[in-house]
């Protein structure tokens, strides 16, 4: 039982890492980034390519993935999302345009990685990091799990507190409510958007590297799976709420875990969509979301 709770918490931390950046970007600068999964995968892929050449340890691999993720995200923002936002006639048209731009973008790295790996799984086995399992009171925990728990929950709570208490965090929340009035307040939206994308990309890279360590290998398509779950998590918790991401991640992870433990498992995909559908019917603003949040 303790083991199951620990495992489910680890899964929740993974979800937090992935969904955090996505929620931040959607809830503040209003970009529902369909390419987030691609950034996640491709950052890990770049780290994999480097590790194939030079056997590196975990910190270096994570650093490479984070820098890659940040650069890809910034490039996407600069080349695609920002121009779309600038041109959008109204926020509603812009929203869809951004989604489409993200869809197009996501196809590119996936295709490159597929070509290169022939869709075979890839991982960091060429690196120097070794997974170690420890047994404490009958509960098995690995060093990767410990890192994921600390990093995932730490970054989740840290980001949430930062958004809640810092000046820039306040500015981001304001952007999420009303970009135009935010601009009247002197908030430089394009600059802040670029910074947010950079952070979100770095988080995606971090998640990519840690997940590859945790699962031992991922494939070019791994990001898409998480993307759909992240939608559920973000809406579950409430768009724009970072604590909501943590809550949503836990709910989804524990719900999936319960389904897998107590049923024959085949309905597990339906859990995320079912939860998503249900929450939208009952409480569309999400569990922690505020009703007035403008971005719909």
């Amino acid at each position: 039982m303790v083991q199951d709770l620990l495992n489910a918490t680890t899964l929740a931390s993974i979800y937090v890492l992935f969904a955090l950046g996505m929620s931040l970007v959607w809830g503040t600068i209003g970009i529902l980034n369909f390419a987030h999964g691609s950034i996640f995968m491709f950052s890990a892929f770049i780290a994999y390519l480097v590790v194939q050449q030079i056997p590196l340890g975990m910190p270096a691999v994570i650093a490479i993935a984070m820098v890659s993720g940040a650069l890809i995200a910034v490039a996407m923002q600069y080349l695609v999302f920002q121009p779309i936002m600038k041109k959008a006639k109204n926020p509603h048209a812009g929203e869809l345009q951004l989604v489409i731009g993200g869809i197009g973008l996501s196809a590119i790295p996936i295709s490159f990685a597929q070509r290169s790996t022939l869709s075979n799984p890839f991982g960091f086995s060429a690196g120097t990091f070794e997974t170690q399992a420890y047994t404490i009171g009958g509960v098995i925990i690995t060093n990767v799990m410990i890192i994921i728990l600390i990093v995932g929950l730490g970054l989740g709570v840290g980001t949430a507190l930062w958004i809640r208490n810092s000046k820039k965090g306040l500015a981001l929340r304001a952007l999420g409510v009303d970009p135009e009035v935010s601009a009247m307040m002197g908030i430089d939206r394009p600059k802040l958007a670029l910074a947010t994308m950079l952070y979100s990309g770095a988080l995606a890279g971090l998640a990519g590297a840690l997940l590859t360590y945790y699962f031992n290998s991922i494939t070019s398509e791994s990001g898409d799976t998480l993307l759909l779950k992240a939608f559920a998590i973000i809406i579950l918790g409430g768009v724009g709420s970072i604590f909501g991401v943590i809550l949503g991640s836990f709910i989804l992870a524990f719900a999936e875990f319960a389904v897998l433990l107590y049923t024959n498992g085949s309905w597990v995909t339906a859990v995320s969509f079912g939860l998503l559908f249900l929450i939208l019917l009952i409480r569309p603003q999400g569990i922690l979301g505020k009703k007035e949040v403008r971005r719909t």
């Binding site: 000046k167 306040l170 500015a171 929340r173 304001a174 409510v177 009303d178 135009e180 009035v181 935010s182 601009a183 009247m184 307040m185 002197g186 908030i187 430089d188 939206r189 505020k290 009703k291 007035e292 949040v293 403008r294």
Partner: protein, 239 residues
């Protein structure tokens, strides 16, 4: 001092503002009157950088600000109280004020926030409450306070009385007068000509994007027929 000269703004092929001329002077309220669609809001939006102009100039104390980004313009000292107040509804009153002071220093913020609370005690009372739950009048006060927080010397107000109960309109416009009296230059767009003229120093009447009358508010008050003629004319296009 804010000066707008020969401003032309278009939405695609539609000319929204043509040859607009305005001035806003410290300590004074310049009232812009005109029917719906006359180009008033567009003018304000252009001044604070939200809308691009085709030609003309907007200067602040002689320095050109036309074409700068909104955030740059706030820093130079022009703040906006937008139409419909548009407070950040899910955020607290205090967070709204802090956002108003986004470009200002911490000391300025602390000082101005105290002043705002003094001016609008109700805001202090509800400072940790969600601003979306304030009444219309309270939200308007918050929008004023938010603009003041930026330390801007010029404040643009877009229809501050819109949607408010008649009883509150007077007190809101009184506050606007108070802001001007504290030395700010106020450029106010109003539909409620009568109430607006009570507090304004100068008045500009626009119709179909053009200035059709310009003069002192006092003069207009003394000769209401004059203004009504223009407003009536402009109002006709509404149908």
């Amino acid at each position: 001092m804010l000066e707008v000269t020969d401003l032309v703004v278009r939405y695609g092929p539609v000319q929204a503002v043509s040859d607009m001329r305005l001035t806003a002077t410290p300590g004074q309220i310049t009232l812009v009157l005109g029917a719906n669609g006359a180009g008033k809001t567009t003018t304000l939006r252009t001044i604070c950088g939200l809308q691009r102009a085709v030609s003309g100039s907007v200067t602040l104390n002689g320095q050109n600000i036309l074409g700068l980004s909104p955030s740059r313009i706030v820093r130079l000292g022009v703040a906006m109280v937008p139409e419909g107040r548009r407070v950040f509804a899910p955020l607290t009153v205090e967070d709204n004020l802090r956002l108003g002071g986004y470009t200002a220093s911490r000391q300025d913020n602390d000082r101005t926030m105290a002043e705002v609370y003094e001016m609008f005690p109700i805001l202090h009372e509800r400072r940790s409450g969600v601003s979306g739950l304030l009444s219309g009048g309270e939200q308007q006060m918050l929008a004023f306070g938010r603009a003041l927080m930026s330390q801007a010397e010029t404040i643009l107000m877009d229809e501050p009385s819109m949607g408010l109960a008649p009883a509150i309109v007077d007190s809101v416009l009184e506050s606007a007068r108070g802001i001007a009296d504290s030395g700010k230059a106020v450029l106010m767009v109003e539909q409620n000509a009568e109430a607006g003229l009570e507090i304004a120093n100068d008045v500009v009447v626009v119709s179909r994007g053009e200035v059709v009358y310009q003069g002192s508010a006092e003069g207009a008050r003394k000769n209401p027929e004059l203004v009504r003629a223009f407003l009536g004319d402009a109002a006709l296009t509404d149908d």
